[in-house]
C-alpha cells in the first residue's frame, strides 16, 4: 500500500505557494497518495488563475532583495530597503513580484501554474475548506475543477491515516 502525505496549505503568496506544491508533486512522483487541504489564504492556490499571486518583501527580513539582471556584481547586491520606504512606494509589491518571477525563470524553477498542473496530472487531490470559501466571499466557480469543498473532519479522516502530515 502506498504511503500517504497530507498537507494543510494556509499561505496565499507566490513564495509560499511553492512548498506545498513542490512536496505534493514530488511525493506523487514517489508514489505517495497526496491530499492538499487549502484553507484560509491557501485557497489562492486553487484559484483558476494563479498569475495574480504576489510576493511581499515588506516585514520579511529573511528575504534577500536581489536583481535578476545585470552583471554578477550587480546581481549580488542585497538591496536592504527599510520597511517604511517599502510601505510608501505604490506598486512596490508588484515590482518585487515581477523581479521574483524573473528570478524564478532564470533559475529554472517551475511556475506555480505548471507545478499545480503537474500535481493534478499526478493525481494529487486538492480539497478546499468550505468555511473559508464562505468567509472570504469566494464562489465555487472561481476555483479549478475537480476539487471537493470540505470541512475539517474530512481532512482529518485522510490525515489520520497519513504517514506525513504538514502544516504549511
Amino acid at each position: 500500500m502506498s504511503k500517504k502525505l497530507a498537507i494543510i496549505a494556509t499561505k496565499g503568496t507566490l513564495d509560499w505557494a511553492y512548498p506545498p506544491l513542490i512536496l505534493a508533486s514530488t511525493a506523487a512522483a514517489l508514489d505517495y497518495e497526496v491530499q492538499v487541504f487549502c484553507t484560509f489564504y491557501g485557497l489562492q492556490l486553487l484559484r483558476k488563475d494563479v498569475s495574480g499571486l504576489k510576493v511581499s518583501p515588506l516585514g520579511n527580513p529573511g528575504m534577500p532583495m536581489k536583481m535578476p539582471f545585470g552583471p554578477k556584481w550587480f546581481k549580488d547586491i542585497n538591496w536592504n530597503i527599510p520597511n517604511i520606504v517599502q510601505a510608501n512606494i505604490p506598486g512596490y509589491e508588484s515590482l518585487a513580484t515581477t523581479l521574483m518571477k524573473m528570478t524564478i525563470k532564470n533559475c529554472g524553477v517551475a511556475t506555480i501554474a505548471d507545478l499545480r498542473e503537474l500535481c493534478i496530472e499526478a493525481e494529487v487531490k486538492f480539497v478546499a475548506c468550505q468555511m473559508t470559501v464562505e468567509l472570504f466571499g469566494f464562489d465555487h466557480s472561481q476555483f479549478i475543477d475537480n476539487i471537493d469543498f470540505v470541512g475539517a473532519a474530512s481532512f482529518l479522516e485522510f490525515a489520520g491515516d497519513s504517514d506525513i502530515c504538514l502544516y504549511i
Partner: protein, 75 residues
Amino acid sequence: MNFDKELDARGLNCPLPILRTKKGLAELTSGQVLKVIATDPGSVKDMQAFAKQTGNELVSSAEASGEFTFFMKKK
C-alpha cells in the same frame, strides 16, 4: 552505458528533474534504462532518494564539468 531513452533536465531546478524522470520512466518497460542529464546539484541526492523510494535502480551517477549524468533502470 547503453540506454533506451535520454532526458535533458539541464537548467531545471527542484523538483522538475525528479518529476521529469518519473515521466520518462513511465514510457519505458521494466529493465530499460533512462539516461538523465541535470545541472541541479541537489539532484545527486534526490536521484538516490527517488530510486530508494520507488524501487527503480540508480545504476550510475557521475559528474563532469557541472553536469550530472544518471542512469536509472526501471524496476
